[in-house]
Symmetry: C2
Subunit: 124 residues, 2 copies
Amino acid sequence: MAFDFQGIATQFVTHYYTTFDSDRKGLAGLYRENSMLTFESSQSLGAANIAEKLVGLPFQKVQHQHDTVDAQPTATGGIVILVTGKLVVDDSPNPLTFSQAFQLCQDPQGQWFVFNDIFKLIYG
Amino acid sequence: MAFDFQGIATQFVTHYYTTFDSDRKGLAGLYRENSMLTFESSQSLGAANIAEKLVGLPFQKVQHQHDTVDAQPTATGGIVILVTGKLVVDDSPNPLTFSQAFQLCQDPQGQWFVFNDIFKLIYG
């Protein structure tokens, strides 16, 4: 547990939602060929398909607020993250509650990328 | 993606919450020496500490209901799971909403155990 997994996780999460809310197609760079996304139980495999899925979501504007970010190191040098938060789409007055789990891995150049990504809206 | 990660995840989650709700100390067997639990941002390391934490939670009765279970295989033969659901403690009339992320790994005998476990209550 020597490396600063919580710091890396917090930095990643901030970057992820800032990119999501300002330039969704920029998210492609955070995934790799064998990355997986499960978005509301719909599955996408690989950076290109994942970016297509995220860019194609049926809203123009979105704003994420992450309330909690908890991280743990994995047995193989990755980081598992659980985020809870709220998001607002377009001009809806009602924020939606979400939960999202990531596993980050490092590529041979030492850059962190998303290997696993599971997103879920939570209904009261 | 050849193995039935979704089936294993669903079976694990059912077993986990059934054990949690009926015999909390039985959860110890699902963790190993280097397993991690982050429970409402409080961290425990290792099966013994994790079981102590879970057994010591300040309620007598608890009932979990898992509403969604989404799973993905990891790059190293594990399974990442995101659960969302509700729980009722003691005789409270108000269910609490929770979200929980697991990473399951296999031991040399092929038995699945929890390596990463992050639990979070979600407040509307």
